[in-house]
């Protein structure tokens, strides 16, 4: 009905828009309710595991998006923050018996400090130079981890990686028999990072970052200090990425430099965010929901055959997205959703 009023005349514009906003909220609440109830329906461990991995990648892509999507710098080295966070919380658990919840924060603070140390000298680099430098920094740290067995008397076991010791099933140890608690933890973390992104959109930080992205010199001449805002966003993004690293370590109970710090993980984060729509709240989540199932399904359907097929598809999707959907999948999807919800076609 609203669509008809809209098509017949413009005067009623305000009313249908309000309705479409309400409908969007109803749709969002429905998705959230479905997400909360999902473990009741999905009893199969394999499927629940896959869903958790999708959420995990959506989380990492959203954390990546915090700085890269808003400052407009592409980092191909973000996996290092997840690796650092994971390694710190695991060694604290192993050697000091510290709860991963606390270790997670320690690791995240360390990652944020590392981000400032990396970001400060490199932030003046533009576009590809910045991207290549982040690869170089991440590779240096990864190679160092792979070839170091002991740091200050603490075993990190080089390329072999660390196994997370079982200290008993409890919330304090973030270790559970069932996968369901992991599902809810990851869902909460994803909602947290999405909320943070939505808050940043509206905050002074977000506005200033967009100004810096648009024209750095102009922003500076308006009295915005690019260094401060840029580093704040970079640290925040690294902090959130590191939390994801600890989650992964507790969930899989194993981390190693190749998987948790490698270029592949960084590229995955960047791809999901870019393909979904960087610089938006929903984009990275959509990217992860689109790409992760592709790789999971292909891996389980084809098993050992045709290794690499899911990456070929990732690559093709990336090429098509850069050429035809520079704003990501979110743009056509939201047009479609708006039509479905009866809002104003824009």
């Amino acid at each position: 009905m609203n669509t008809t009023t809209l098509q017949t005349g413009a005067p009623a514009l305000a009313a249908p828009q309000r309705t479409s906003g309400t409908r969007a909220m109803v749709a969002g609440a429905a998705v959230l309710a479905a997400a909360l109830l999902l473990p009741l329906l999905v009893r199969n461990d394999y499927w629940l595991h896959s869903v958790i991995m999708v959420l995990y990648f959506a989380y990492l892509a959203s954390a990546w998006n915090l700085v890269c999507g808003y400052v407009g710098q592409v980092s191909f080295g973000h996996s290092v923050f997840s690796g650092v966070g994971g390694y710190i919380s695991v060694t604290l658990l192993t050697h000091a018996g510290m709860s991963p919840w606390l270790g997670m924060l320690v690791g995240a603070l360390a990652a944020a400090a590392l981000a400032v140390a990396i970001g400060y000298p490199t932030m003046r680099l533009k576009g590809p130079y910045f991207a290549l430098t982040t690869i170089a920094v991440a590779e240096i740290i990864r190679i160092w981890f792979e070839n170091t067995d002991v740091v200050f008397g603490i075993a990190i076991k080089g390329s072999q990686g660390l196994t997370v010791p079982l200290v008993g099933t409890s919330w304090a140890a973030m270790q559970f028999e069932s996968k369901v608690p992991y599902y809810y933890i990851m869902l909460a973390m994803l909602l947290l990072v999405m909320g943070l992104t939505a808050w940043m959109e509206r905050s002074r930080l977000g506005v200033c970052l967009k100004a810096i992205r648009g024209d750095r010199d102009a922003a500076e001449s308006l009295g915005i200090n690019p260094t401060r805002y840029y580093l704040a966003a970079f640290a925040l993004s690294a902090f959130m990425t590191a939390l994801g690293g600890t989650f992964y370590a507790q969930f899989i109970r194993f981390i190693n430099p190749e998987r948790n710090m490698g270029v592949e993980l960084s590229i995955d984060m960047a791809l999901m965010s870019i393909i979904g729509g960087q610089g938006t709240v929903l984009g990275p989540v959509i990217g992860a929901f689109f790409l992760t199932p592709v790789s999971e399904v292909l891996r389980s359907e084809l098993g050992g055959q045709l290794v690499g097929l899911h990456l070929v598809i990732y690559g093709l999707v990336l090429i098509l997205a850069v050429l035809y959907l520079p704003k990501g999948l979110l743009a056509p999807l939201s047009r479609w959703a708006r039509r479905l919800l009866g809002g104003a076609p824009r």
Partner: protein, 294 residues
């Protein structure tokens, strides 16, 4: 550490460094003219090594002879990638300069597709491409040098010399240089910029095609061999200065000697940490490179 070993490793560093320079030439040319970082550079190197492998496997060709096939094939492939995948991006952003980061993402997509197609088609097995040359060492005074590395080093320098002569003397070379200096100016003087871009990209890939055949006799071949050479080429190009042919060779030599000597003191992985660190320092301190102009 005695001086014999140091001199020997420096000599080996020169040989391998000149080849790094040769591999980086194509990247530097494309970067200099199109202002695009070709992330798929190493993948093209890997493909040409597979051309050498299959020609040897099926027809018994020597890897050096397979350059006769690899060079034109890689030229065509590069030309096609530029004309079909990258040109639309440039056309879309005609009024503006190409946003360099989307071009990087685009070529990163090409890298992911090509490397994984190779993995699917050829498998992850490590292969080797033996050459028919039987004398595997040449001696320079007291120092025995690997013949294939000597051939690779001399050929790299010859390719660089031929490229700079070609750029200096021919009409197409002049058009390429003009486009590199000022795209719009070149277009207004009647140069077909699209054609120049396609040719430049093809030429960059053809050079890396030749380098693949020169590497094939002594580098073990896997579908993922490209990325490490690609990343090394970025380091070389940044070190030597973007778009500079001499800079590419000098940058390659610096990295080659640096890694070869460092490997005498620390383990090889640690040595690669140093060259990555050198890359970052150069970018921060002297972004125009050793031989580049502001």
């Amino acid at each position: 550490m005695d001086s014999y070993i140091l001199t020997y490793s420096a000599l080996n560093g020169v040989l391998i460094g000149a080849m790094y320079g040769g591999i980086a030439l194509g990247l530097s040319l494309i970067f200099g003219v199109l202002r695009i970082v070709n992330f798929a550079h190493g993948s093209f190197l890997m493909l040409s090594m597979y051309i050498a492998f299959w020609l040897h496997h099926w027809l018994g060709w020597d890897p050096y002879a397979s350059a006769l096939v690899a060079v034109p094939v890689m030229f065509g492939l590069g030309y096609a990638v530029q004309a079909t995948i990258i040109a639309p991006l440039i056309r879309r952003e005609r009024a503006l300069v190409v946003e360099p980061i989307s071009a990087l993402l685009l070529t990163a997509g090409v890298y992911i597709v090509v490397d994984n197609l190779a993995l699917m088609a050829f498998g992850a097995n490590v292969r080797s491409v033996p050459s028919h040359i039987e004398q595997t060492t040449l001696s320079l005074g007291d120092y025995p040098l690997n013949t294939f590395r000597v051939v690779g080093c001399v050929s790299s320098i010859a390719i660089a010399a031929a490229l700079s002569l070609w750029l200096a003397r021919t009409d197409m070379g002049r058009a390429i240089r003009a486009t590199a200096q000022n795209r719009d100016g070149a277009a207004m003087s009647g140069i077909n910029v699209g054609q120049v871009y396609n040719t430049t990209f093809g030429l960059g890939c053809a050079i890396v095609g030749a380098m693949g055949c020169l590497l094939a006799p002594f580098i073990p071949l896997t579908p993922s061999v490209g990325l490490s050479f690609g990343i090394k080429s970025f380091i070389v190009v940044v070190l030597g200065g973007i778009g500079s042919i001499a800079g590419s060779l000098v940058g390659g030599l610096v990295i080659g000697v640096f890694e070869s000597i460092a490997a005498q003191f620390v383990t090889t992985p640690t040595a690669s940490i140093f060259s990555l660190a050198l890359f970052i320092v150069i970018l921060l301190v002297r972004p125009q490179g050793l031989m580049g102009k502001r």
